[in-house]
Every structure is written in C-alpha cells, then in structure tokens.
Amino acid sequence: MRGNAFEARVKADGGTELMRLLHERLGGPGEPPREVAVPDLTAAGPEGRAARTALALREATEAGGWALLDHPMLALEVAGSPAYLEPDAVVVHPDGTWTVVEIKSFPMIDGSADAAKVGAAARQSAVYVLALERVAEVTDGARVGHRVLLVCPKDFSNLPAASVVDVRKQRAVTRRQLTRLTRVEEIAAALPEGASFDPERSPADLERAVESVAAAYAPECLSACELAFHCRSRARAEGAVEALGRGVRGELGGLTTVAGVLAAAAGKEGDPADPAVAALRRAAALRAEALEGRAGCR
C-alpha cells in the first residue's frame, strides 16, 4: 500500500521528482531537464508491450532529448524461453544513455540503507540492464548505463531520496548464470516420467512431484523461496550437514552427514590421518573434558 503511494508520488507530474533526483545524481551540470517526453507504452500483451517499449526507446534516442519510460516492458531469454520484465522506469538521456530506475519502499536513513535489500535491488536492476542491452544492441547511439538510480523514502518521511548503485558486478554474475542455465527442455528431460507441477494437481501429487526433484538447500533459502521448508526437511531427513549452514562444510572435508561427523568424532569411523577426523576427535575430547569439569587447573 505504502509502496505504491510512494512510487506514484515519485512519478507524479510526468516524473518531475524522479527526473530531478536523476539529474542530481547522474545528469550533467546545469538545470534539471525541463522538457521530458513520456511516451505512451500501452499495448496488448507482454510481447506487444515489449515491442512498444523498444520502439519508444529507439525514438527517444533518435530525438536526442530526455525521455522517461514509465513501467516499460523488456524481454530477456532465460533458459531458452522469453521472460518479460517490468522495471519501474527507464530514463533516456540526451546523449543516448539509458538508465534503469528502481523505486523501493525501504528507507534511506542519513544516506544509508539495509545492505541486504540494496543488494537484492542491485541484482534485480542488473537483470533489467541485461535486458536493455539486447535492445541497445540494435539501436543506434544507445548505451545502457551500468549505474542505476535507486529511489527510496528519505529517513522517516515519504519524500524521495536517491542513490546511485553501480551494478557491474551483479550484471556479470547474472550474465554468467544465464549462460549456464540449461534450457527448460533439458531441465524437464531430467525430471521423472509424469512429474507435473501444475497447481491444479492434488496436494499429494504435487508433494510427490516436488519430492522427486533433488534439492540443494541452504538456510539462506528460507527467506528467499517458498519451497525452502520442504527442502529443509529433506536435507534434515538426509542428515546433511549443510542444513546447518553453508560455512559448516568447509572444515569437515569429505564428511557430509551428521552421523558421519559424530561417528568420526567418537572414534568409531574415519581415517585418523584425515585432518578433519583428527580435529573432530580432539574437539570432542576437549569438550568432554571441559563439560565434566576435568579441565580444572590454576
């Protein structure tokens, strides 16, 4: 609710506030732009809108002035299929630069904001940058800026504040991930016969379908994905050590299950020449000594 009101405020009056903020942070010297074209981007369906956006970008770049594209639509090929993305806004500069604008509702207090949320916004913007680059490739004089404008409420108010975020690293990471993502057909081919994730299926069927897919769980998934609880119970049932956190595996070497680690620590299993096993046995002995109060000394 609040988020929508904030975004509307930032974009009101043909985007005056937004353009002022952008010009302050990314524009050249002099006054903020007085004339800003705001092309109509309506069209039928996502493909239509994406095409309309591409056209608007081209026209704006040719015109050589400022333009604000409100809720443009961009297409990006992901795993062989087109995905449609909707950034909050894209601004075209007179020199042909295109800047992604992301409007968020978490606050910027005294110039700083929650780093996890800014990171997420940066990753999201990087995807938009990649999608824009596809269009820029076929547009004369166009160049996609790697600095995006992040607009957030200032301190405790509903007034907007903006900060520039350099997304080159996030862009590079996303590009690598996209190239590595196998095509959807390949993913489907790896699934068991008859598996279907159609939400219309019965809960029991869906449960079975989800169960049949291998999961790669880490606790970070809990705040990011709805399936996390399922993957967590799978990981716990398998006794996987990573259920306790990504960093936990590092020192354990080849030991990957809870039972395996505890058996090694108790001296029942494991090669004593393995430094992880030796360290675990020492750790177990030291803990036992301390807990039994035998570690007393001066």
Binding site: A121, G247, G253, T256, D274, P275
Partner: protein, 444 residues
C-alpha cells in the same frame, strides 16, 4: 608502426615525474601505484635521498619493523654518510641488529632525540604515539594501500605533505569487528589509507610505475590483466631473457613433468583429483612438499639479466605460499620430513613484499566445497601469484571451476561504497583459465 617498449625508459620517465611532483609540485600529496616488483623500495629510497639532498628533512612511515629496517639498510647502502634516525618501540629487540653496524644511523625510542636528522623512519604504530614535535615538511608513506585509514589519521598531523606509495592489488586492510555503520563514508576508518586520502583530495596527482622488474614476461600480462585492470604494467624483461633449466632429467612423474612445464612456460598447474578436503589436505600438502623437493634435487639453474652465468636455484630462492597458517605449518612439517630446509613457507599476508626465483602455491580454493569472500579475495591470489622471477607452480584439486560457477550471489551492497575492481570471481577465473593451459594431472 608499433613502438618498441623500452621498459627502462618508461620506468625512468615515470620516476622522473613522480620525483618532480614530490619535490616541486604544489599538491599536498602524491600517490604512486606500484605493481609487484616495480621498484617501490628503490623509489622510496631515491625520493628520500633527493628530498634530503634538497635540504628538506623528512619522515618515513612504513607498516612493519622489517620494512623499516630494510629501508634504513638501503638508505645506508646508497648514502652511508646520510644522517638517518630509526625510531623504535620499547619492546625487546625493537630493530634488526644489522643497524648497529651502520655508523650514521641513530636509534632511539624518542622522536625528540632524532629531530634534525635528515631522514627519520619508523612504523605507523610507533609514529602514532609521537606527540609534541614540530611537524615535518615532508613524509613518505610506504605500503599506503595496506595501511588502514585510521592508522593514517593517527599520523597525518605529523607532516605537511607526503608521497604515498603502495600496491593497490595486494591485500586490503581489514577489521575483526564490524565497520558497516561507516561504510560509504569518505573517512570509513576500516578502508585503506589511500582510498580515504583520495576521497577527500581527488585532485592529487596519481602516478603508476609501469614496469615489473620481478615478474617474467610469462607472468606480467596475466597478473596485470587479472589484478590491475586500471593500472596495467609490463614486464621489464622479454621472453627468453630469463630461463630456468634442470640439471637432472625428468623421471616421468607428474611432479617432474609439472616442473618441466613451469621451467618452459613460467607456469605449472599440478592438478590432483577432485575431492572435498579439510584445509590441511594431506595429499595436497605432500604434493607441494614433493614439488619443492624435486625442484631442489634436480638442480635448477636460472639465467637472467642479472648476470651472465646461470645462478643455482637454492632453497633460499624458493618459497611456498598458502592461504592459511595451518596449511603453512603442515607444509613446513612435510618439508622437514623430506629433509628440506631453508625454504620460506608462509601465508600470503607474510609473503607480501618478498621475492623468489620459484614459488610453489597451494591454491586457496583447492578442495573447498564453496568459495567464501576470504578465499576469493583478489589480494591474496595476487600476492601468491606475483612473488616469482622465473616460475610459479600451483597445486590444486580439480573442481575449482565448478565451485566458482556455483558461487551464490547474495552479497549485500552498501550505498556509497565505490565498487572495487578487480572482481574476485573474475580474477580467480582468469588465473585458473591460464593455468589450465599448463596443467599436469596427478593421480593420487
């Protein structure tokens, strides 16, 4: 027409400009980026001598006692009569005993005793305790990129102007407690001294030394591209100027074959089978020790521009580099078991600034199930990959490429913080890709 690169001339020109700015410029600071082996200490010594000769007493700030003593010795070598002050702490053995043999070097724990001497040198930590002295007109701050911002804050009041010299590609300063609340502030106390200096004084002249005299032509392009994207440099020597050969033929083992590869091309990757192992991976540690053993047994001979005769590669010209202290300890133990002595074995932190003919490196990511920020840190890999004059052999388990691919991207972003390049992932990937061309597989 392609101009032939004349490294001596290029380096000379850069040095002349730096000295001109330092002696005659009006800016309060001059910053010099010095890639590995570019002659940083030579520059510092030269600048100190020229300032002294121009009648401008100066103070020199280095980061460790070893660095301080090294500079004192070099100054005395160049100008034995120059009055030099070595300011030291009250700890036992506060300076290298070698200094006792230098006639014109005065040592004291009190700055007042050394006032008036042409050059006074000490560590940042000691300088921070100096009070109630007249500020020096000039200072030279060595290893300024490894100095933390708050360490500079504690000493900057002691001088009017300074020459800041350091290597931007090596390990950054850090803090064991969180400093996030100041991230993005221009004076973030946990950032490097140079980044704070430039954030407040962006107009300061910045120079770079364009030549590495240490790295061979086989290594400079890789290290420059991977770790110094904005301040590239070139090798001072050409392909063929340096050669490494062995007196004893290869026995066909993977160890010997990777040594041959390294001698031939300057790089070697001894790849062990993929496995997740603890840090002190016994097989990898043994492999590293064996490479050193065979290197010494086979009687390496190094030919370089330093002398016409080949120089034997003795234990003191070889080093082993690791990411962690316990790995270094394990390698030391393995070398002792093989009867090898006199080879330096240390972590990247402690190898900074040092130089060898051949280095053997245990790759920071070898055997790991994941890549943490610590292990991806470019400074670490840069130090490990830039200590050698002839060849570097890397020992690593297969699987690091996959590990890099799977590295998740959930990193937080602090507003206002300049994004730092090179990127850890890119640098690691570039090095690995290059090493893959010189791979010898070992079966364990």
């Amino acid at each position: 027409m392609t101009a032939v690169f004349d490294p001596g001339a290029a380096a000379g020109l850069a040095t002349a400009r730096i000295l001109d700015d330092t002696l005659n410029g009006t800016a309060r600071g001059v910053v010099v980026d010095s890639p590995p082996g570019a002659g940083k200490s030579t520059l510092v010594v030269r600048a100190a001598l020229e300032l002294a000769a121009a009648g401008r007493p100066l103070m020199v700030v280095a980061q460790t006692n070893a660095q301080v003593d090294d500079l004192v010795v070099r100054l005395a070598e160049k100008e034995p009569e120059l009055p030099v002050g070595r300011l030291h702490s009250n700890d036992p053995d506060p300076y290298d005993k070698v200094l006792d043999g230098l006639e014109h070097v005065r040592k004291s724990a009190k700055a007042a005793d050394l006032a008036g001497l042409d050059v006074v040198i000490s560590t940042a930590a000691k300088w921070a305790h100096v009070k109630n002295v007249e500020p020096w007109g000039h200072a030279i701050v060595d290893e300024a990129y490894q100095m933390r911002s708050d360490a500079l804050l504690a000493v900057a009041g002691l001088f009017e102007r300074a020459l800041f010299v350091g290597d931007p590609g090596q390990l950054d300063p850090f803090s064991i407690v969180g400093a996030d609340q100041w991230a993005g502030l221009s004076y973030d106390p946990s950032a490097s001294a140079v980044s704070t200096l430039l954030a407040h004084n962006p107009e300061l002249p910045q120079h770079r030394l364009p030549v590495s005299w240490r790295l061979p032509a086989s290594a400079a392009p890789l290290v420059s591209d991977a770790f110094y994207p904005y301040t590239p440099f070139r090798s001072g020597t050409d392909h063929g100027d340096r050669r490494l050969s062995f007196g004893v033929a290869s026995d066909g083992s993977a160890t010997d074959r990777v040594l041959d590869e390294a001698a031939e091309s300057g790089w070697g990757l001894l790849e062990l089978p993929a496995r997740h192992t603890p840090r002190t991976d016994p097989e990898a540690v043994r492999a590293v020790a064996l490479v050193v053993r065979r290197l010494l047994d086979r009687g390496g001979a190094a030919v370089s521009e330093r002398s016409t005769d080949p120089a034997p590669v003795t234990a003191d010209r070889v080093a082993v580099g690791t990411a962690h202290r316990d790995q270094a300890a394990a390698v030391r133990a393995a070398l002792a078991e093989l009867g090898v002595t006199g080879v330096a074995v240390d972590t990247a932190n402690r190898l900074q600034g040092r130089e060898f003919d051949v280095t053997v490196v245990l790759h920071p990511l070898s055997g790991r199930p994941d890549a943490t920020a610590f292990h991806l840190e470019t400074g670490r890999l840069c130090v490990l990959a830039s200590r050698h004059r002839h060849a570097c052999v890397v020992v690593c388990r297969e699987g690091v490429a996959d590990l890099l691919d799977e590295h998740p991207s959930t990193e937080p972003v602090q507003l206002g913080v300049t994004v730092k390049f090179p990127d850890g992932w890119e640098a690691n990937h570039a090095v690995l890709a290059h090493l893959a061309e010189h791979r010898v597989r070992a079966t364990c």
